[in-house]
């Protein structure tokens, strides 16, 4: 129903906009590399006033890199950014803001204990004396001009996520931004707030603002955008105007792609006993999650970030207790497994390779030996005393074996690059001979050879373990996993075998919240929306849980 409303409004509004308006921002063959990783390659894009441009792409496709260059966070390696037809060089985000380009990030940057008006005017030069009433009036007038429903006198900590987003928007409008970039703006919103946001986007574009909407949610992109550009592996693979958008299905295929950069030979190995079992796990943003993992297989958990992967992983890894439902780890109940003395359980148990390598998996201010000891300390203690010398020798051996650079055990974790830190974490966790491995974005930020190395080790680990691979990189899931479970709003939508026909297309749809089969004729979007309405409870709690 809501989709319908979106669609009608959009059509009415697009009639008024002329697609031939000269672009306010023009990106001309922009490229950017980080080390060996080509984040953006030869990207050209026009951003026109009064139009909403959607950038569609998976995690790691290069959307955020592109927009960071546009907003001045870092310069491109090559290519030009033209503003109003003249080439521009941004040295800092301040230059970007001065040129009228503003960005609404996923994580809001607001002072919670101040009012909306204070936040909007924060850091703005003006008279030394402040008049709260004048501030409220200024911000209130601005909000009215763009039809944003918000009370300028309200304190930010009393606002919902959607309202806070409006405050971020007001900040940009006050700074007279002509191009507003939204990075995954709906990730933190409830469906109703999403509707309000879209209304605000249309209002602003009608007033002549250029909007860039970054997302990987197909229905939203189709609902809101005037133009869609699809980014994959750092390149723009397709561009559509609103009226020439093919089916949602086609968009999903273009977004996910079929080409594979990295390939490994993942021959299945014989399956052993069940090592992990979840039954009806609910609460903490999860909805009735059940799955089973056996030794010898890799089960990937795919999905857009923030759809319940975090609470699921944290529950399995023992960082938060299950609210409802049963978790069985290596035959023991969750409580029994995590209550058991670690003297025995540190080895041959569950190893968690978290996404947050610095801070969760390691302490930045400790050296490699101490960080190695974090989870292996029970293997190096005798009568309560720690055998540091032996730990040091072992660390030196592992560091060499895993090619961690620099190979100096006295190096502090903070001095290691992300990739080398990950190697250290993996070396440590594999040293524990785990029978379950929970690997969360294990290759994020790693270069090609390091990625291959991690993949090889995960595949090898199947000989003695079951692997739960949480990844936003669909290629990774397809390369490694025997089965892929897709999460959406705290639920497992479906589990798909790697070799099932059209796995890619189906996973792409499931990630966007669309169930298999109900496709091709445009009714699927409505179906998905209606389903969300039914279990609105779950739909609303999932993003909220992620935000916490």
């Amino acid at each position: 129903m809501r989709m319908h409303a979106f669609a009608r409004r959009r059509r009415k509004h697009t009639k008024r906009t002329d697609p031939a308006v000269p672009p306010v921002v023009r990106l001309i063959s922009i490229s950017k590399s980080f080390g060996a990783v080509k984040a953006n390659q030869d990207i050209s894009l026009d951003i026109r006033p009064g139009r909403i441009k959607a950038l569609l792409g998976e995690n790691g496709a290069g959307k955020s890199t592109l927009m960071s260059m546009l907003s001045g966070r870092f310069p491109p390696d090559s290519g030009t950014i033209e503003i109003d037809g003249a080439p521009a060089r941004f040295r800092s985000p301040a230059d970007g803001i001065a040129a009228g380009i503003g960005m609404v990030y996923q994580h809001f940057m607001l002072v919670e204990r101040m009012t909306v008006a204070q936040n909007v005017l924060l850091g703005q030069t003006g008279s030394f004396w402040l008049s709260p009433r004048a501030m409220r009036a200024t911000v209130g007038a601005l909000a009215e001009e763009y039809g944003l429903a918000i009370d300028p006198g309200a304190r930010v900590d009393s606002l919902s996520m959607g309202q806070r987003q409006l405050v971020e928007i007001l900040k940009l409008l006050y700074r007279q931004s002509r191009v507003l970039i939204f990075d995954e703006p709906t990730a933190v919103l409830t469906p109703a707030e999403t509707g309000n946001l879209f209304q605000a986007l249309w209002n602003m574009s009608e007033q002549g603002k250029a909007i860039v909407f970054i997302s990987h949610k197909l229905p939203e992109v189709i609902a809101v955008a005037d133009e869609i550009a699809i980014l994959r592996q750092g390149r723009i693979v397709d561009e559509f105007l609103e009226h020439e958008v093919p089916s949602e299905h086609a968009l999903a295929n273009r977004m996910v792609g079929r080409e594979v950069i990295l390939e490994v030979d993942a021959q299945p190995v014989p399956l052993g006993a069940e090592v992990l079992r979840l039954e009806g796990l609910s609460g903490n943003g999860l909805e009735d999650v059940s799955l089973s993992l056996r030794q010898g297989e890799i089960l990937a958990l795919a999905g857009v970030a923030g759809n319940g992967q975090k609470p699921l992983v944290e529950t399995v890894a023992g960082l938060r207790s299950p609210q409802r439902g049963a978790v069985t780890i290596l035959g023991s109940d969750w409580k029994a497994f995590y209550g058991a003395p670690q003297k025995e359980s540190w080895r041959g148990g569950l190893a968690y390779i978290p996404e947050d390598r610095q801070g969760l998996a390691t302490c930045p201010d400790l050296d490699m030996v101490d960080n190695f000891l974090l989870t292996t300390r029970h293997g190096f203690s005798r009568q309560g005393f720690l055998e540091r010398n032996r730990a040091e020798e072992q660390t030196a051996r592992l560091v060499e074996e895993h090619d961690v650079r620099p190979p100096v055990p006295a190096t502090l974790a903070r001095q290691l690059s992300g990739g080398n830190l990950q190697k250290l974490v993996i070396a440590r966790e594999f040293y524990r001979h785990p029978r379950i491995i929970v690997a969360e974005q294990p290759t994020q930020g790693l270069d090609v050879s390091a990625t291959e190395e991690v993949w090889r080790r995960l595949l090898q680990a199947r000989a003695h373990a079951g692997v739960l691979l949480v990844t936003g990189d669909l290629n990774e899931a397809l390369q490694l996993a025997d089965r892929i479970a897709v999460m959406y709003r705290g639920r497992i939508m479906d589990v798909i075998g790697r070799n099932e026909p059209d796995a890619v297309g189906r996973i792409g749809l499931l990630m966007a919240g669309l169930r298999k089969g109900k496709r091709e004729d445009g009714t699927a979007g409505e179906g998905a929306r209606a389903r969300q309405g039914e279990d609105g409870q779950g739909a609303e709690s999932a993003p909220g849980g992620a935000a916490r």
């Binding site: 890894a317 023992g318 960082l319 995590y338 670690q342 968690y352 978290p354 801070g359 969760l360 998996a361 390691t362 302490c363 930045p364 201010d365 400790l366 101490d370 000891l373 974090l374 989870t375 300390r377 029970h378 203690s381 309560g384 005393f385 720690l386 540091r388």
Partner: protein, 350 residues
């Protein structure tokens, strides 16, 4: 124009240099403060030195003050190691003194080999329980331990006052707030000069804590828990137990300091034992940058300043608060000096 530049690597062997420089700076400012009051600054400096370190008598005074300060600082440093901001050493010290006094007053006829261990046991339990309360409040109710330990200091001191003004007051004290003098068995004797055997306890506790923190698995967990609470939870360390443990360790160490004060220095309980060792211990722990092996030096140094300032008070009629001002100056200048470990000034070009 000068610009601040980060050093390529930390200044090697620079710590003693920085400490000496910072001490000189804080002494210099102190002398300026003296001069501002119309006192002779050079003579003030001399009196400070003379009163604290120049004679056997003054050195003994300094060591006697350093003993309780050292024990409290050890405890504070262990808790701070885990980023548990226990500033309650003062109250734990008071409870230790109360616990020891309770044993001394109730079992005056026990022989020393029984009575002294009993007094230390009571002091340790009293101080430890006093420290465990804020730990439990933090773990169960998320009460900030800075507030709760500080508040418990006041309660502990008031409890001590109540006892010496009330039930434990010596009937023959002509109304002074004192307990009876302890029986000889409850008093720790002298070892060398006026320095009592308590100094051996200090050595034992210091050694035990250093070994504990450096060599044991639990010590490692405390260190790791302080370096990153999230990583400690990730590694399934018993975080709550560790918080309780460091608090109790601090409570026991501070309690023993209080016990030594009543048993060895005064031979009775009276309000004047609350000389602020528990607060100065925070300064000592920070100056030592929480390293157990460095605490003895700074405890001795700050005890010396306390004694020296008493001399200043006598000779130059400097106000009592001057000691606190000097302590603060030393802490600030040493902490500021540590900045230069990692940074340096460079003349900006152009």
């Amino acid at each position: 124009m000068l610009r601040v530049v980060k050093r390529q690597e930390p200044l090697k062997g620079g710590t003693p240099l920085i400490v000496v420089g910072a001490l000189a700076l804080s002494l210099g400012i102190s002398m300026l403060l003296l001069a501002a009051q119309g006192k002779p600054a050079p003579r003030g400096l001399f009196l400070l030195w003379d009163g604290a370190f120049a004679h056997v008598h003054s050195l003994e005074d300094t060591v006697l003050k350093a003993i309780p300060l050292y024990l409290c600082s050890l405890g504070v440093a262990v808790a701070f190691r885990m980023q548990v901001w226990n500033i309650g050493a003062e109250g734990q010290f008071a409870l230790g003194a109360i616990g020891a006094t309770w044993a001394a007053l109730h079992f005056p006829d026990l022989p020393a080999p029984l009575l002294l261990p009993l007094m230390f046991a009571c002091a340790g339990v009293a101080g430890g329980v006093w420290a465990l309360v804020p730990a439990l409040l933090r773990l169960r109710l998320r009460v900030n331990e800075i507030i709760s330990t500080l508040m418990l200091n006041y309660i502990g001191i008031l409890l001590l006052d109540y006892l010496v003004y009330g039930p434990w007051k010596d009937p023959t004290s002509f109304g002074f707030p004192l307990t009876r003098e302890f029986s000889p068995a409850a008093q720790i004797g002298r070892m060398i000069g006026r320095i009592h055997w308590g100094i051996l306890l200090c050595a034992a506790v210091g050694l035990a804590l250093a070994v504990f923190l450096k060599r044991t698995r639990t010590g490692f967990e405390i260190m790791a828990g302080g370096a990153g609470a999230r990583a400690a939870r990730y590694a399934h360390m018993p975080y709550g137990f560790l918080v309780g443990l460091v608090m109790v360790l601090c409570g026991v160490a501070s309690g023993w300091a209080g016990s030594l004060e009543v048993s060895a220095t005064l031979g009775r309980l009276q309000p004047s034992i609350m000389a602020g060792y528990g607060y100065t211990a925070i300064v000592v722990a920070w100056l030592a940058r929480l390293r157990i092996t460095h605490i003895a030096f700074y405890a001795f140094l700050l005890a010396g300043f306390r004694v020296g300032v008493e001399n200043l008070q006598l000779e130059l009629q400097v106000p009592h608060a001057f000691g606190g001002i000097m302590e603060g100056l030393i802490l600030l200048s040493v902490l500021a000096g540590q900045f230069f470990q990692n940074y340096r000034f460079r003349r900006a070009e152009g």
